[in-house]
């Protein structure tokens, strides 16, 4: 029985079999024997999350544009599927051709989230490959990685042959070609990796030696002879002309973002000091409105979606946002296609935009004040005051929303009881505003609901807070308890992160290679899908850390600004001096404005990596009819 038949006969045994069948509309299926190079893109979480990820879709279509490259997909199998695969002897397979993953030339993972690491290991194993890079040879696929957390890939570095640092559209096709060329030449793995290390953005972890001093801190990161000292992040310039797919796959099952995705811009310079995305996707680059309208037309025609989501790190900051929304709503009104925004700022303007596209009926509005007091918001550089929130909330209630979600973080640097209490205060006052407006309203409004969501702050690499200590578990519990006690009653809802999970994420976010064996042990003990509360098992992780002699405090504690951090050899293009300056300003409660609206803040991105700000959203507005 071939794999296709085996799946057809057996998938009824697992939950959500649609995760494993592929054959979605717009899927690209090529003949295995008619191509030169075969790549499988792997997402270390379930299908419905992986299929919502824009980056992989861009790469999928970019690689498949080439006739001689076959690019397929694989997602992490849910535990019930893993069990079935084991029982029926089904190896990890690609969705399109149902090919064994170990038959491909390249197995390319995207690193999205620290708590997906055990899934990566599991997938390498299910593919029948040795886990560690140095155990694999030239007959195995090259295991490569990239993505959002690739800027500190050290905890998983020993499992990977190669990382691509930065926006992969810039170099993935060339990289794939070179890998194939060297494989065809029959180069030994080590020779091949050495040659590949010359390519821009390519980081071969095995070519860098990490030394530690007696206290356990890194004393040196030394590249092998002739290997570049720093790996520069690769950045797309002229986003407006950059490749963007229009023939998006249309999944059968309900996925997290089941709509046409239009990436209107990349990067954000608001400068929130906790936010790694705000540092690692600089500079801000926008697409032109005319380009976006054309893309939207083509995506809608090829997918049949009835909703377009304008996505970006901060959608409302797009320089032509109002015109874009006006043009799109007019254009698609008759076809009953709706427009949605992926994020809102805490201000009236955002509410006005949301009202224009009639998100009212869909769901509540979400605002992210992030911290409970004006003081703490200055520390984290979230440039809004409580009055901004009250005005935005008032506008939202008046426009008919009855439910508002507020995002906060707990455990931010310098946080006091007063700041935690500020969360309670803000939530209650927003609730009061809502109730007053509901009472005064002539329309029938549902009872006001304020949903407060608190996550735990985790210091991340390449942010001004990369040196600070993470708050410990007892402290998190205490703060969460306080909120639970004080944020109850009608109209209030509170949700929070599992503290054990946050602590673990904190360990790996700033971790180094000594954590790789911990991942292996945890995986062996059964850790999978650790980001999923129902599957997360803290007992496994405690044991895994202990068995490997790792003291978690070593990873959670503060660093000195002179320390060699595990990611010191990765060059994001942001000056370390800028991060230090921002750290100092944080402690002094000083606000640093966005460089798009005020002067340059000196992060250096526009001067260091041959990239520059591209604010073109407002340009070239032409009549689209």
């Amino acid at each position: 029985m071939n794999l296709e038949e085996k799946l057809d006969k057996n998938l009824y045994r697992v939950s959500k079999p649609e995760r494993y069948i592929g054959s979605e509309w717009n899927q690209i299926k090529k003949e295995w024997d008619e191509v030169r190079t075969r790549v499988v893109l792997a997402f270390p979480d379930v299908y419905e999350i992986g299929m919502s990820h824009l980056g992989l879709k861009i790469l999928y279509h970019l690689l498949n544009k080439r006739d001689d490259i076959l690019c397929e997909r694989v997602y992490a199998p849910w535990p019930d599927m893993e069990e079935l695969m084991e029982k029926e002897e089904i190896p990890l397979f690609s969705l399109e051709g149902k090919h064994s993953v170990n038959k491909f030339d390249i197995l390319a993972f995207t690193l999205q989230y620290e708590m997906g690491y055990t899934n990566i290991i599991n997938m390498i194993n299910l593919a029948g490959l040795p886990l560690y890079s140095n155990e694999r040879n030239r007959d195995h696929p090259l295991v490569i990685g990239g993505g959002a957390v690739v800027y500190n890939p050290e905890p998983v570095a020993p499992f990977f042959d190669l990382f691509f640092i930065g926006e992969a559209e810039t170099g993935i096709v060339n990289l794939v070609d070179k890998i194939k060329e060297y494989r065809e030449e029959g180069l030994l793995r080590e020779e091949m990796l050495r040659k590949l290390s010359n390519l821009p953005g390519v980081y071969i972890p095995s070519l860098y030696q990490i030394d530690y001093d007696n206290s356990g801190r890194i004393s040196a990161i030394t590249p092998a002879d002739g290997i570049k000292e720093k790996i520069d992040r690769q950045i797309i310039s002229d986003l407006d002309k950059a490749f963007y797919p229009t023939e998006f796959m249309v999944p059968y099952m309900d996925i997290v973002h089941d709509r046409a995705t239009l990436e209107i811009s990349r990067g954000c310079t608001r400068g929130c000091r906790f936010c790694v995305a705000g540092m690692s996707y600089r500079p801000v680059r926008e697409r032109k409105i005319s380009t976006l309208v054309d893309l939207a037309d083509r995506i809608l025609a090829s997918t049949g979606y009835d909703e377009v989501s304008l996505t970006s790190l901060s959608t409302v900051d797009y320089s032509g946002i109002h015109d874009l929304i006006r043009i799109l709503t007019e254009r698609y009104q008759e076809k009953k296609v709706s427009i949605s925004l992926s994020s809102l700022r805490v201000d009236e303007f955002s509410v006005e935009l949301a009202r224009e596209i009639q998100q009212v009926r869909k769901s509540g509005l979400t605002f992210a004040p992030e911290a409970g007091t004006d003081r703490l918001r200055k520390v984290i550089n979230k440039g809004i005051k409580e009055d901004d929130l009250f005005q935005a909330a008032e506008a939202a209630f008046k426009a008919g929303w009855s439910s508002i979600k507020l995002y906060f973080m707990l455990g931010l640097p310098t946080e006091t009881d007063e700041d935690v209490d500020g969360i309670v205060d803000l939530a209650r006052r927003v609730l009061e505003i809502g109730r007053r407006i509901r009472q005064e309203s002539n329309n029938r409004m549902k009872p006001i609901q304020i949903h407060v969501s608190v996550s735990t702050f985790i210091p991340k690499p390449f942010t001004p807070f990369q040196w600070v200590a993470m708050v410990d578990k007892e402290e998190i519990l205490k703060k969460q308890d306080y909120l639970r006690k004080n944020l109850r009653g009608r109209g209030l809802k509170l949700s929070w992160d599992e503290p054990d999970l946050s602590v673990l994420e904190g360990i790996f976010a700033r971790g180094d290679r000594r954590l790789a064996p911990v991942l292996e042990t945890a995986w062996k003990l059964g850790a999978r899908f650790d980001g999923w509360n129902e599957l997360f098992r803290s007992d496994i992780w405690k044991k895994a850390l202990q068995v490997n002699g790792i003291n978690e405090q070593d990873y959670l504690t503060s660093r000195n600004t002179g320390d060699i951090l595990p990611w010191a050899h990765i060059n994001l293009g942001i000056k370390e001096g800028f991060l230090q300056k921002e750290y100092d300003r944080a402690l002094n409660e000083e606000f640093t404005p966005d460089c798009r609206f005020k002067s340059c803040t000196g992060c250096d991105i526009c001067f260091s990596l041959d990239s520059t700000m591209e604010i073109v959203g407002a340009d070239n507005i032409v009549n689209q009819d």
Binding site: D8, K9, L11, Y12, P17, E18, I21, S23, E24, W25, V250, Y252, M253, D254, L300, A301, S302, T303, G304, Y305, D306, K335, K336, Q358, R361
Partner: protein, 230 residues
């Protein structure tokens, strides 16, 4: 303009649920630029309705959907246009215009034929078993109900015919819909509980052959004049 379409849901899509299938169709209508009619209000929906849901895992060779169009379109053109934009595993077999007054598919179809590849021990007398089974005075099984207590029901009046098609391949003609519904899983359980050598089989062994309206013991397709009145 109301049109009724007969289609087949085949192997490649057997694991797609009823709601997912509706989404597949809605998106295909858009890709094919079919002039669908929408409901009014804040959240407009395509006026699409399907015949009784097919369980995940089963295939169906005569399924139906009704669609209201905002503009006239010859049924043949509709079928040709839409077919281009359907994924593999979904085949349109026939489209006819029906009068706007026609009753909904779920109200019309009261009988289904399921073809089940049985799990029967070798050497059993299949004809004998069917004869014995059909002559039982009652066939009680426990029905599990979501969020409700289990209930014992009698399948007897809802099983109309069982026919052997091939060795261990049987066609069951049973009631379906809101006025009496037989679940294949209950049918198989009833057999397995009463006859040694018969075991239950999963949904992938089952094909729904068709949906019908039963009038005086005769089966009519949802297209038939007797059913649509047009």
């Amino acid at each position: 303009m109301l049109i009724r379409t007969k289609y087949a849901k085949l192997k490649p899509l057997r694991y797609i649920s009823h709601l997912e299938l509706m989404n597949v169709l809605r998106r295909a209508f858009r890709r094919a630029e079919i002039p669908t009619a929408f409901t009014g209000g804040f959240n407009p929906h395509v006026k699409l309705s399907l015949s009784q849901p097919l369980s995940v895992g089963m295939t169906g060779c005569s399924e139906y959907f009704d669609l209201e169009l905002a503009e006239e379109m010859p049924p043949k053109i509709f079928r040709e246009k839409l077919s281009v934009f359907l994924p593999a595993g979904l085949e349109l077999l026939e489209t006819r215009e029906v009068s706007a007054a026609t009753k909904s598919l779920q109200a019309v179809a009261d009988t289904a034929i399921y073809r089940i590849t049985m799990n029967i021990d070798d050497g059993l007398d299949e004809e004998r078993i069917i004869k014995d089974f059909m002559s039982l005075p009652e066939i009680k099984v426990t029905r599990e109900r979501r969020n409700k207590k289990d209930r014992v029901i009698d399948l007897k009046p809802m099983i109309h015919n069982i026919e052997i098609i091939d060795q261990a391949v049987w066609d069951f003609t049973v009631s379906t819909g809101s006025r009496g519904n037989v679940r294949t899983e209950e049918l198989l359980r009833a057999l397995a509980e009463r006859f040694e050598g018969i075991k239950e089989v999963p949904e992938v062994n089952i094909e729904r052959r068709g949906l019908y309206k039963r009038i005086n013991d005769e089966l009519y397709q949802p297209f038939a004049k007797k059913v649509t009145g047009s």
